[in-house]
Structures are given as structure tokens and as C-alpha cells.
């Protein structure tokens, strides 16, 4: 058989398809970027431009007034997300640290010190990840009120820790399953107990697991809205998502301030995502049970 025309035929057949693939990808990429374009462009406009132009046009000059107003509006008591940013930060970071360690310990025991009934325990814990939180919201509000933790960052942070148990346990359990059991067995032979094995063998190997879990928890807690809006009511305790929502209400007509507010509140998770997207994707896939 003559192979020359066949090779040419393949090249002809493959080439247009490849060009089409790139064209479709680039078009979809542009489509996906539209909201970000709108947000960035809008946030750089002045009050006058907001009133005279649509959200699509470029600003005449780069004006950071809207960014300042979103953080601290010139009008007294009209919101602003600066305090929300601070509240989210001091609530999210400890919650991420605690829930990561808690999940790490749970996942370690469930994967390396398996006992009869371990799978049942895991299933019992896991179900908590797949309930609509509305189903526990009303008793939660009541309990926090009784404990005087309602409308406090402590109460909100503890809530995120408790309901973070299933996902952090799940990711660490899958992660530790990939650490060879021989390592653990060898340490046991040397007389190491359950906590010594954790400290000496498991913990030093856990850094990638911690990165995945911490990113996942940070993104979720930072972005969360349902608990935030129902468990806090004062501006002094509201996290950034609630502050942004209020900003959208009090500045009904000014899209430049709203867009700036949206970008500022998205910035922390955005930066984490851009720097560590590989780990973000790992957490995403682990969260769907497919480790």
C-alpha cells in the first residue's frame, strides 16, 4: 500500500478540526470572561460615567473612587465592606486551621487504624455533607441564641468547623489511603502508638493534604452566605458576603461601587485560586467522593 497519500489525507482531515477546536475554545473563553470584564471595567468608572454609559464601555480614565467607596462609603452608616472583610478574615482563618486538623485526625484514624464499624462511622459522618443546611438552620439559630453565641463571629466560625467535618474527613481519608500502610506497620512494630504514628509518620507526609483541605475550606467558608446571613445581624459581625449583599441594596443604582465591592470580596479566594489552582481542583474532585 502506498502510505504517502494517506498521511496527507490525515493531515488535511485533522488540521481544520484542530483550528475549529481552538476557535471554539477561544470563543467560550471570551464568553466566560464577560462577567469579569464587566466587573473590572465597571469598577473603574466615575459616578458621572455610571449615569451616562452602559456597563460595556471602557472608562475614560482609571478611577479608583468606586473601590474606596465600596470599602468605606462617604455617607455615614451606608455600609461598606471593609469591616466585612476583616470579620471574614478573623472568622475564616481559625475555622480553616481547626477544621483541617480535625479532619486530618479523623481521616487518619478512619484509614490507618480501621476497626469494625469504621465504615459505618464514616457513612454517618459523610451524610452531614449532603443535607441542605436549611434542615438544621432553625435549631442552630436557637441553640446559638441560648448559648449567647448568636450574632458573633465565634458562633459562625464554630458552625463552619462543625459542618466542615464531613468534607475535611473525606479528603484526608482519601489522601491517607495513598500513603503505604507498610510505613504505618513498620512504626507500629517499633512500638509507636496511635498518636506517635500520627506525629512521626503521617503528619510529615500530610502537607499536600493540608493544602488541599485548607484551600477548600477557605474558599467555602469565605464564600458562604446562608449561615452568614442567618447567624449574624449586626454590621460589626457580618462577614463579607453579607456586607456585599447589603452594599448591593444600599447603592441600588451605582454599579461601579457594586462591581468594586464584588471584586474586593472575591480577591482573597481569587488569589488563592490563581496561585494554587492545582490543589483547588484536587479538592474539587475529592469532594465528589472520587478520590
Amino acid at each position: 500500500m502506498n502510505t504517502a497519500p494517506r498521511a496527507q489525507e490525515i493531515r488535511l482531515r485533522v488540521h481544520p478540526a484542530r483550528v475549529a477546536t481552538y476557535i471554539v475554545l477561544v470563543l467560550l473563553a471570551i464568553l466566560f470572561l464577560v462577567p469579569l470584564y464587566v466587573a473590572v471595567v465597571g469598577s473603574l468608572k466615575t459616578l458621572r460615567e455610571v449615569n451616562t454609559t452602559s456597563i460595556w464601555t471602557l472608562p475614560a480614565t482609571v478611577d479608583l473612587g468606586a473601590w474606596r467607596s465600596a470599602l468605606q462609603p462617604p455617607l455615614q452608616n451606608s455600609g461598606g465592606i471593609a469591616s466585612g472583610l476583616y470579620n471574614s478574615l478573623v472568622m475564616t482563618i481559625p475555622a480553616v486551621v481547626v477544621s483541617s486538623f480535625w479532619g486530618s485526625i479523623n481521616g487518619y484514624v478512619l484509614s490507618k487504624w480501621r476497626f469494625r464499624g469504621a465504615d459505618v462511622v464514616f457513612a454517618v459522618l459523610l451524610f452531614g455533607m449532603f443535607i441542605p443546611y436549611q434542615a438544621i438552620l432553625i435549631p442552630l439559630v436557637n441553640l446559638l441564641q441560648q448559648l449567647r453565641l448568636y450574632d458573633s463571629l465565634l458562633g459562625l466560625g464554630l458552625t463552619h468547623i462543625i459542618y466542615g467535618i464531613p468534607i475535611t474527613t473525606l479528603i484526608f481519608r482519601n489522601y491517607y489511603a495513598s500513603i503505604p500502610t507498610e510505613l504505618v506497620e513498620a512504626a507500629k512494630m517499633d512500638g509507636a502508638g496511635i498518636s506517635a504514628v500520627y506525629r512521626l509518620v503521617i503528619l510529615p507526609l500530610s502537607i499536600p493534604g493540608f493544602v488541599v483541605v485548607a484551600i477548600w475550606q477557605f474558599t467555602n467558608i469565605w464564600n458562604e452566605f446562608l449561615f452568614a446571613v442567618t447567624l449574624t445581624s449586626a454590621p460589626t459581625t457580618q462577614p463579607v458576603t453579607v456586607a456585599l449583599q447589603n452594599l448591593a441594596g444600599s447603592f441600588a443604582a451605582l454599579y461601579n461601587v457594586q462591581m468594586a465591592g464584588a471584586l474586593i470580596s472575591a480577591l482573597p479566594t481569587f488569589v488563592v485560586y490563581v496561585l494554587l489552582s492545582r490543589y483547588f481542583i484536587r479538592g474539587l474532585l475529592a469532594g465528589s467522593l472520587k478520590g
Binding site: 477546536t21 452602559s54 479523623n106 459522618l125 459523610l126 452531614g128 435549631p139 452566605f225 464584588a262 472520587k290
Partner: protein, 321 residues
């Protein structure tokens, strides 16, 4: 034996927390839903001490048009639209990225980027895009899209379709978008698809990469075209991933709250209202706590119907070698 008790001891805080804050609280909510706790009075202790009224709250709920049919139908329509479109877009993206293209990680990270954003952020931005006076219409109308849309809506042939979509609140051909009760729900679907289709892409892409190259090679040797390989071999092999995607997106869709709260807050009227919004209004704005609890239980049952069989399936699969 000693290690077993140590293991259980270490897990105990998580087990106790789960029994109280997940299972106990669900029972608590269930109990509250059969009481007459529909007033502003705060509870004196940890349980709602109000007279038990049986299923009265559920009966009245299902006689409230805002809940049934409106909210439940809206949620069902949203679920079908959101899950369906996310799968179509996500699968398309996954197949495109599976072609060993240059800049794969750039595109992948770009399509996944919305996943890292809060629904509140997304909702704020999209509600401006959907704003009929400053948003997408201003971009497209200069290209004659407005006239095209009017012509389309005026076609007698298509009027049954428009009537159907109008009734479901998803007719996004209508220029009013979030300001038009006939289109508002559809607009929220679009924003949600933007946010979540990257996740579907990541799941499918991981699935495609898990399929051994030998299968593709064998099909190529047999003379199958690339399209045929995807259509008849690869996509059918993705079925387990598809099940995961449907369940996870379905779960998200049945509890969705923040995106709706920020974009339309259920409006105009109740055209894009959801059980989660109704619950928020009933309990947290209206002090109808027992009614709120009843809505919560309906939501829990709806998501348990899809999640519980899925979890059983997943956990059983895991047990296999």
C-alpha cells in the same frame, strides 16, 4: 482491642458532633414542623415547647400557592435547566480540552475560575448584566439583536413554545430578563451554569483521562472517526461520572439560596421564588418558625431521595477491590 477503643475515642468528638448537629437537629426541625410555633416568641429552652398540631403546617404549606405549585415547580424547572445545561457545556469543554491542545491548563483554570467565587459575587455581577436598561441588551441591540428577538417572539409558529417557556418563567428571549416574570428564572439558570459548568468539565476531564489510551487506539485501528470514538465509546464510559455530576448538581440545585437571593430575591412577584427563599421569609422575616421547619423538611426529603442511594452506591463501590 486497645487500639479499637483508642480509635473510637479519637473519633468520638466528630461522631458526637454529627449526632447532635446533623441528626439531632434534623429531628429537632422535624419536631418543630409539627408544632404551632408560628409566632415571634423566643424559645425558653432547647426544644420548641408549643402545642403539637400534627401535619397542619404541611397541609397549609401545600395549600399556599407560593409554595405549591409555584416554588416546587420553579425548583424542578431550575434543576432540569441548570443540571442539563451544565452537563452540555461541561462535556463540551471537557472534550475540547481532551484534544491535547496547547495551553490546556490555562483554559482549564479559566473555565474553573467561577467555582472559586461566591454566589454573592456572581449574583451581584450577573444582576447588572441582566439589567434590562444597562446590561446585555445594550451590548446586543446595536447589532440588530433586538429586532431579531422581536421578530422571533412575533412568529406565530413559535407562539406555543413562547407560551410554554413564559409559563415556566424561563423565556430568556424576552428582553426584560430578571425584571420580567416570564424570564427571571431562566436568567438565574444562565448565571448558575456559568458558575458550575467548569466543575462538570473537571469531573468529565478526569474521567476521560482515566480511560486507557488502548481503548482509543483500538477504535482508531478499527477505523472509527474521532467523533464516533467519543459518541460510541468514551462518553458511554463516562456514565459513572455522569451519575456523580447529576447527583451533586441536583443537590446544589435543590438547596440553592444565595444566587437567587442576590439576583432576583425570588421576584418579580414570586416568578423566581424557591423553597429556600420562602423558608427564609417565613422563619427569619415572618417568625413562622414551624412553617419554616416544614419547608426545611420538604427540602431535606427532596435531596435525600437523590443523595442517599448515591452515597450507598459510592460506599459499596469503595468496598470492592
Amino acid at each position: 482491642m486497645r487500639t479499637r477503643s483508642a480509635s473510637v475515642l479519637i473519633l468520638l468528638p466528630a461522631i458526637v458532633a454529627s449526632l447532635i448537629f446533623v441528626y439531632g437537629f434534623i429531628v429537632w426541625t422535624g419536631f418543630a414542623s409539627i408544632t404551632s410555633w408560628n409566632q415571634i416568641k423566643a424559645l425558653k429552652n432547647f426544644l420548641p415547647d408549643f402545642p403539637i398540631v400534627g401535619l397542619d403546617n404541611y397541609v397549609s404549606l401545600f395549600h399556599t400557592p407560593r409554595f405549591w405549585p409555584n416554588d416546587l415547580v420553579n425548583n424542578a424547572v431550575f434543576t432540569v435547566g441548570f443540571v442539563g445545561l451544565s452537563i452540555v457545556v461541561g462535556l463540551l469543554l471537557a472534550i475540547l480540552l481532551d484534544q491535547r491542545i496547547r495551553g490546556e491548563s490555562f483554559f482549564r483554570n479559566l473555565f474553573l475560575l467561577p467555582m472559586s467565587l461566591s454566589y454573592v459575587v456572581t449574583g451581584t455581577i450577573w444582576s447588572w448584566i441582566f439589567n434590562p436598561h444597562t446590561g446585555i441588551n445594550q451590548l446586543l441591540d446595536p447589532f440588530g439583536f433586538g429586532a431579531f428577538r422581536r421578530a422571533l417572539l412575533g412568529l406565530g409558529l413559535l407562539s406555543p413554545l413562547w407560551g410554554f417557556l413564559d409559563a415556566l418563567h424561563v423565556n430568556i428571549v424576552r428582553p426584560g430578563l430578571t425584571a420580567d416574570p416570564r424570564a427571571a428564572l431562566g436568567a438565574i439558570v444562565l448565571a448558575a451554569v456559568w458558575q458550575m459548568s467548569g466543575f462538570v468539565m473537571a469531573m468529565f476531564l478526569a474521567g476521560l483521562r482515566g480511560i486507557s489510551d488502548e481503548i482509543r487506539e483500538a477504535a482508531r485501528v478499527d477505523g472509527a472517526s474521532e467523533v464516533q470514538i467519543y459518541r460510541h465509546i468514551l462518553v458511554p464510559l463516562l456514565r459513572p461520572v455522569l451519575v456523580s455530576v447529576v447527583v451533586l448538581l441536583g443537590y446544589i440545585s435543590l438547596k440553592i439560596f444565595d444566587l437567587v437571593f442576590v439576583t432576583t430575591r425570588g421576584g418579580p412577584g414570586v416568578s423566581s421564588d424557591f423553597p429556600s427563599i420562602f423558608l427564609f421569609d417565613s422563619a427569619f422575616k415572618g417568625n413562622l418558625w414551624a412553617r419554616g421547619a416544614a419547608i426545611a423538611i420538604v427540602m431535606l426529603i427532596a435531596s435525600a431521595v437523590i443523595v442517599v442511594p448515591y452515597l450507598r452506591w459510592q460506599l459499596r463501590q469503595e468496598g470492592r477491590p
